[in-house]
Symmetry: C3
Subunit: 387 residues, 3 copies
Amino acid sequence: MAEHQQLAGIMTDTSSRRIDLPLIDHHCHGLVETELSDDEFRSLATESDWPGPAGTDSLDSPFGLAVRRLCAPILGLEPLVPIDEYLAQRRNIGAGAANRLLLRSTGTTEFLLDTGIPDARLLDPTAMAACAGARTREIVRIETVAEHLASESTAAGFVSRLPEALADRSREAVGLKSIIAYRHGFDIPAERPTGREALKAADEWFRAATTTGTFRITDPVLLRFGLWAGIDTGLPIQLHTGYGDVDIELFRADPSRLTSLFRATRSLDIVFMLLHCYPFVREAGILAQIFPHVYLDVGLVSHYLGPGSGTAVRQAMEIAPFSKILYSSDSYGLGEHYAVSAANWRTSFAALMDEWVSSGWATPKDAEKIATMVASDNAKRVYKLDA
Amino acid sequence: MAEHQQLAGIMTDTSSRRIDLPLIDHHCHGLVETELSDDEFRSLATESDWPGPAGTDSLDSPFGLAVRRLCAPILGLEPLVPIDEYLAQRRNIGAGAANRLLLRSTGTTEFLLDTGIPDARLLDPTAMAACAGARTREIVRIETVAEHLASESTAAGFVSRLPEALADRSREAVGLKSIIAYRHGFDIPAERPTGREALKAADEWFRAATTTGTFRITDPVLLRFGLWAGIDTGLPIQLHTGYGDVDIELFRADPSRLTSLFRATRSLDIVFMLLHCYPFVREAGILAQIFPHVYLDVGLVSHYLGPGSGTAVRQAMEIAPFSKILYSSDSYGLGEHYAVSAANWRTSFAALMDEWVSSGWATPKDAEKIATMVASDNAKRVYKLDA
Amino acid sequence: MAEHQQLAGIMTDTSSRRIDLPLIDHHCHGLVETELSDDEFRSLATESDWPGPAGTDSLDSPFGLAVRRLCAPILGLEPLVPIDEYLAQRRNIGAGAANRLLLRSTGTTEFLLDTGIPDARLLDPTAMAACAGARTREIVRIETVAEHLASESTAAGFVSRLPEALADRSREAVGLKSIIAYRHGFDIPAERPTGREALKAADEWFRAATTTGTFRITDPVLLRFGLWAGIDTGLPIQLHTGYGDVDIELFRADPSRLTSLFRATRSLDIVFMLLHCYPFVREAGILAQIFPHVYLDVGLVSHYLGPGSGTAVRQAMEIAPFSKILYSSDSYGLGEHYAVSAANWRTSFAALMDEWVSSGWATPKDAEKIATMVASDNAKRVYKLDA
């Protein structure tokens, strides 16, 4: 980390200009440290739940190019070696050592980890800190807390105890996360459901669970009940928006469908972080300009777009104040996600700042200030990370 | 103005290439001439209704950079001076003189002013003409006329007299404006409401107004009733679409939701101007290609995107015939809006035309013709400004 | 063709870099060979159903520039001659000879023709093959088969015989096409309608047809019934999405509204081709990444965007695996559509590949492989064209 902390600002590096500031990755997940078969690697290298069609390779893709270009040298190979050579080298080095190299290539000083993905292979925040040589903090997923509570409660107990359970579970956390986008989409009323509404919905949920045997929260009243319990904690709330896996219906995950929620919560001393946003980055930027408590990032596409990730970075910078834009990678499982996102952000942001400076839109000092805000300062302020 | 009128075409200027043709700003509002505190300036420099979060400056933004880059030299400062120096200089010069300089920097020969914003500080068209040394014309806002009529009428009187009131009020105007996007969104039936439907809705509105004490038109039947009264005048109708203030739910302001209205009015000798359009510029371009009576602009983001405003200008030029694209700034309150929009359009459009010419897509004569159409000729034709 | 087949890869040509690989145009329509008046040419040169407003020329447009730049030299004129000279030369040469020159300029070895447009002037696949000196195959439009069957059947006969009629009609075809986007939009349930539902809807349709005298399928149950009959054939199904003529309400043609259909059909050994996609290219790319049986192209805007068509080509390459992206032109009527789409794709794709290679994102071999996949290999695989 020392090198990155010393070399503030926009630096020239051997291959191309990049911003060499320490990063805070305000939304990501844990790594998988177990050895992966090629198929398991490919499965973690896409948001798809299935292999590609016969006769194709899902790594013949923008992200596949990014792995070959950006990660191969980190593992001691030439850039753009064939993907099979890359995967062989990853196995030779071992998943643990490879992940360690990839993670440490990012220059990230702090990772805020959403621990809500139910994948037992994922490293927890402590193990992630050791692997990265960086600080980690936790983001607690509201729906995971709710589903866990439901599994050991009654309907009435669920409704009465969720606020306390969420407060308890997030005592050490710096923020919460909601996946309403996955479970229902954003067409929900803005208002907090009444206790009576919540109880009625919980009763139905628990009745259904007797049949299904699992508690998966999809009822919009219960999702809102959870979201408002989250709002009551006062912690920043991260919202998945836009692109994600097969559960998403994209048009329902357009963050502008949350406008009435943002109006209803404007004076509550709460903040919302719009995550990913692609292909609704412009909508998110507008919301971040209009609402003082709304922020955005373009994590996830920071790696999946490969050569095109700069497009998302630019769109994020079109209209929102610079204090409302954060860096994240939304990495999950593979060290490659963290490495590609950070490298892409560093070169894309440097290219944009270079362009602004060279064409007279900003001074070099402005550019460094803007880059520092997005790289870390905004996250420090909003999540109170220095406290 | 003389200089701009003489130097037609694409010219080289000291800093960068710009198009040096006279502009018609077919949609904007009046200036605020009173002296502004820094907070008041910031409030007028965003579509947000609230200050930014503590510890941030809402002018650390694309528009803030644009003010420092483009407006500072107009007020006698170096480009990119800190924003506080800029605001101090603006106060030293005085709001009136500063606005005069900023407005005259735009090379605009004619401003079409939407006078419907209820802000008593705004200059009227006559005062604007004096300040700008340019011609002004009026665009009458349908909803403002309707609300005013309601305040001095009965429900039955409102329904029977709105068409006449609108015709009277717009006798000297060159167009009308509707803000259905703000009040309800575009999910409305295309058909004219029947008199019976309008009367029923008006009855409810007047009953509610006895309680609220104000007439704010939000009922979709009444909004449509007003729109069709506007259509009956035969004047061009400007429609706010896309990005705007906190009242907008963006996805409801997608102009493609008006397709059935455009189908229903295609043969009525009426035209619709889609304003702003961001982030639905491509949708608007498609509609302007399909429907002979639909036009578009990218005002508002012409200044708020600052360094990125060229992106919107390019999107507007992707698919619509060049006869369907207009220049506007949607400026309001600050001379800086007019100055930034015009400067951005001039350099962005010049860059696009240069690119087309240098890569063989257009002759220099084509480029000048296209630029002249967008800068002024299309507005002259559609609004019959030479008549 | 020989020249194109020999010169594989990215080649330098006199004007600009272009990809000189044989193309398979996996979705287009037939040519009009009759002589066209200037008005008829203009009508075929836009998706609009009407002439532009008085005092304007609909060919003062991105596509008009493309015709003047790219097609004029093919007809023996200087690039960028005025459009009237171009139209005069086209008449001098004759529509048949001009179309032949334009079609053969494309380097297309195979055209997959949607024969469902009810325009008697259009060449059939055999005549198209002769004109182009290339192979043609047929894509059968589901709704056309359904409407034809209805016109000679009873409601009960329609329901019982549609699957067989579709199978019969497509015996020689390589794929099917559905225009649900035009007739209803994508807000349809994913499930196959029951026989009882289909019969009820057919009864109503046939009753209405006694009055209207025509069978135009717009009922969502019947549209789904047809789509599922298509799915049963096992052939690739092309879906119009996004931009099209006046019948489209764009937001309803967003392919992400089909997510539940894609989930419901994932394991059925069927593929869906999302056609055109503009302005939902990013949504389509996401769907093609998530679902192994979903593909996309940017035909139609490949010619209508003229100088901006490269934007759509780039968006298509942002997130989907390269095996999921195809070339098409969606040409219809004018040889100019085929010629402009192919030329635009060749130069836009070359520019993107050059950029990737020169900035280290891909090797020259990668670039050639990716280009070949999109140009023809993906189409060969999905439509089994070598079989």
